[in-house]
């Protein structure tokens, strides 16, 4: 009886049907998403010969560089804890819809929400209606399991061979995750999923999201107000579409452990943003 009471106290209501994901095979080559800009503007038209990749300081043969034409797997990982209500919830729903509106043929999307419970509201698929419907139904309630939610979104990204972008929104601190930030940062170092995160400015800095986006090669946005969420989400997708996917098969380096990555472009003034390394052996 007490257990039931306690759970009723602690938990919030949520909804939607249980989704199903399928997992596909993966390649062993290392893939690096790289944003190449000149004074903030993306540089287009680069090929393999324009890139230099150093894996633990060893120059690598770049096998393939792709740009724009690669379908995206976008995983929305959204905070639906107590604090997300009213205008903030409306803004978050609008932001999710704005991402769906940018999807192109071949792109897929999924929706993960987290309060204390992590729920996969819509599995990864090319159908946006499930995500749209789940967005409409989601309500904020409960505590914040940000770290567990990010890990779940990351695993959805890894469940498909496509190019994965995880967009995380949270307006609070993690208060109830089982996994530790260190464990999920470790997982991020082993993952190809690029994480962009959006948080609301607060007295306590979002250290986990800062480290996560840094390790995955993404970016952290700290907003003053959530009215800017939709434009921020849209800007994230736009930026991600302008990233190159550089792949190579590691040579001359250890199989396991941390690999420091250095991606360069042989063009004056070019600025490259990519993940700083990866953990091999997984």
């Amino acid at each position: 009886m007490i257990l039931r009471t306690a759970f009723v106290c602690a938990l919030g209501a949520t909804l939607a049907a249980a989704p199903q994901n399928t997992f596909k095979s993966r390649v062993e080559a290392v893939r690096v998403d790289a944003l190449v800009t000149d004074h903030g503007m993306p540089i287009r038209g680069l090929g393999s010969a324009d890139f230099e990749v150093f894996d633990n300081g060893i120059a690598q043969q770049v096998d393939l560089v792709s740009f724009e034409q690669i379908p995206l797997n976008i995983i929305l990982t959204l905070d639906m804890s107590d604090s997300v209500a009213g205008d903030r919830l409306d803004h978050l729903r609008d932001a999710g819809r704005s991402v769906l509106a940018t999807l192109e043929k071949g792109d897929q999307s999924a929706l993960v929400t987290f309060s204390h419970a992590v729920s996969v509201r819509a599995a990864l698929s090319g159908e946006t209606s499930a995500v749209r419907q789940a967005l409409d139904q989601a309500e904020g309630a409960g505590e914040t399991a940000l770290v567990d939610g990010v890990f779940t979104g990351m695993m959805i990204g890894e469940s498909d061979a496509g190019r994965a972008l995880q967009i995380v929104f949270s307006d609070g601190l993690d208060t109830v995750s089982w996994l530790t930030p260190a464990a999920v940062l470790d997982a991020a170092k082993r993952s190809d999923v690029v994480v962009y995160a959006v948080s609301v400015k607060a007295a306590v800095k979002p250290e986990f999201l800062r480290d996560l986006t840094q390790f995955s090669g993404g970016r952290l946005y700290e907003l003053e107000k959530t009215a800017d969420l939709a434009s921020t989400f849209k800007a994230i997708v736009d930026e991600f579409r302008h990233r190159y996917l550089v792949s190579y098969t590691p040579r001359g380096v250890a199989k396991d452990g941390w690999h420091r990555l250095d991606v360069r472009v042989k063009r004056k003034g070019a600025d490259v943003k990519a993940r700083p390394g990866y953990l091999a052996g997984s």
């Binding site: 938990l11 209501a13 204390h116 505590e143």
Partner: protein, 463 residues
């Protein structure tokens, strides 16, 4: 509810002596009399009209009442006693009450103590002639109580009245009054999602209850001896549990309890768990985000310091009762968070064996999963997580633990297969029942039963 959780910050319980005393309105003794009438009329365990009347008094009025009731507890034992206090910036004590007030307090104290007809100082002044109906009833009840071996009628019933208001009345709060102006003061830091959302002054019902119980004495003793009274001990355990279960943390409460009952395993245990809770991100986040006026500080320290205090107190609880399974569990968790994995494994293994219920067995297995992983014993970690998942198949925590463990081991297929189970969990959170989500309140699950047991001898509902 976890929402709107509150952390008590600087609770200024001001004692006689070095502190200022609030400017007191002329009718403040009348308020003491009204409070005594409320004690007489109150039905324990309810928020009846008597409780609501006291609840309606302002923070400042209750602060003055605290001071006057404290004086009453002295005068009811020694009716000729003049209560003194030391004004600020003074070394000389002066009477707290002017002569007419002292006489009026004496009348009230003779009734409250049930000594109107037996104490020389009460009979000399023929105080019983000044009793109204409520005071006559109060005196009768106090006498009856003493006849039944309980010479603490107004103290215990008064404490239970204040307890009922603190527990049953909707939480009220008002803006902070600065600077602290005497009497007793209590401040609450409210928080949500790990961030402080406000700081308010709130009523001092808990402070009044503690102060009253401090004056409890044994049947034959002349001096207060609350530590020898089982009701006082049980009251502290029950109320501390209630506070933890309802996420209303108050370090002063448990510190005071530890002062009275330094070797009580349950009080040591609850004090230890409270420090462990203070080390959690939800409290540490609030500590980091709260903006306090100068001169105030939170009673939660750094997570490392809180874990150290928790470890010390839980170890003391186990010294008192080495078979205390839940203390092994909580100590194991604290040790793991502090990076002492080998010691944590030993405590958690003992806890899993001695667990009194499934949630506690689940906690032990779940924590062992992370400890074994930290020790590099991945097969043992997986086995521990599997035991936890078997106990609560719809809980997400052991599943993400297994997936993360597999990911760390380079076993991506197992990680993904396990996450399939997470994806398939019911989306409704209240269908999932992951005990991990209520770990910080599970130790206080008996709070309602314990409160009912406290109230029952005083006319409250039968537990």
């Amino acid at each position: 509810m976890i929402r709107g959780a509150a952390l008590l910050a600087a609770a200024f319980v001001v004692s006689f002596g070095a502190q200022s005393v609030l400017p007191r309105p002329p009718d403040h003794i009348a308020r003491v009399q009204r409070w005594l009438a409320a004690v007489v009329r109150h039905h324990v365990g309810t928020l009846d009209d008597s409780a609501m009347e006291v609840e309606s008094w302002s923070d400042a009025q209750l602060s003055v009442l605290f001071t006057d009731l404290r004086a009453l507890t002295v005068i009811m034992r020694k009716p000729d006693q003049r209560v003194m206090w030391v004004p600020p910036r003074s070394r000389t004590s002066v009477p707290l009450f002017a002569e007419p007030e002292q006489q009026r307090m004496k009348v009230l104290a003779c009734a409250a103590g049930g000594i109107a007809l037996t104490d020389f100082h009460c009979t000399k002044d023929k105080v019983s002639r000044m009793f109204d109906a409520d005071l006559r009833e109060l005196e009768r009840l106090a006498v009856d109580g003493r006849g039944a071996g309980a010479d603490n009628f107004v103290l215990k019933y008064g404490a239970l009245l204040e307890t009922d208001i603190a527990i049953l009345a909707p939480a009220s709060s008002s803006p902070m009054t600065l600077p602290p102006n005497g009497g007793a003061q209590r401040f609450r830091v409210e928080m949500s999602d790990g961030q402080a959302t406000g700081i308010h002054q709130s009523a001092v019902h808990w402070e009044i209850a503690r102060m009253l119980l401090d004056a409890v004495r044994t049947t034959r003793g002349a001096e207060p001896a609350p530590a020898r009274d089982s009701m006082v001990r049980d009251w502290y355990v029950a109320t501390a549990q209630w506070m933890q279960f309802n996420v209303h943390y108050d370090s002063n409460h448990l510190n005071h309890a530890r002062g009275l009952f330094p070797n009580d395993r349950d009080i040591l245990f609850l004090a230890g768990t409270q420090h462990a809770i203070y080390a959690t991100p939800r409290i540490q986040g609030a500590v980091r985000s709260v903006v306090l006026p100068s001169g105030y500080s939170m009673d939660a320290r750094s997570d490392g310091e809180e874990l150290r205090q928790a470890r010390t107190l839980l170890r003391r609880a186990l010294e008192v009762d080495p078979s205390f399974g839940e203390a092994h569990l909580r100590l194991g968790r604290v040790l793991a968070l502090d990076g002492q994995f080998a010691d944590a494994e030993r405590e958690l293994t003992a806890a899993e064996t001695a667990a009194p219920d499934e949630p506690n067995r689940y906690y032990a297995a779940l924590f062992l999963g992370s400890v074994e992983e930290a020790l590099g014993r991945f097969d043992e970690a997986r086995a521990a997580y599997d035991r936890a998942a078997e106990l609560f198949p719809l809980a997400q925590s052991p599943l993400v633990g297994i997936a993360e463990l597999a990911r760390r081991r380079g076993d991506r297929s197992t990680a993904l297969r396990t996450m399939q189970e997470v994806f398939a969990l019911p989306p409704e959170a209240d269908e999932r029942k992951d005990p991990w989500w209520i770990y910080d309140i599970w130790q206080a699950r008996d709070a309602d039963d314990r409160l009912a047991a406290i109230r029952q001898p005083f006319g409250g509902d039968t537990p």
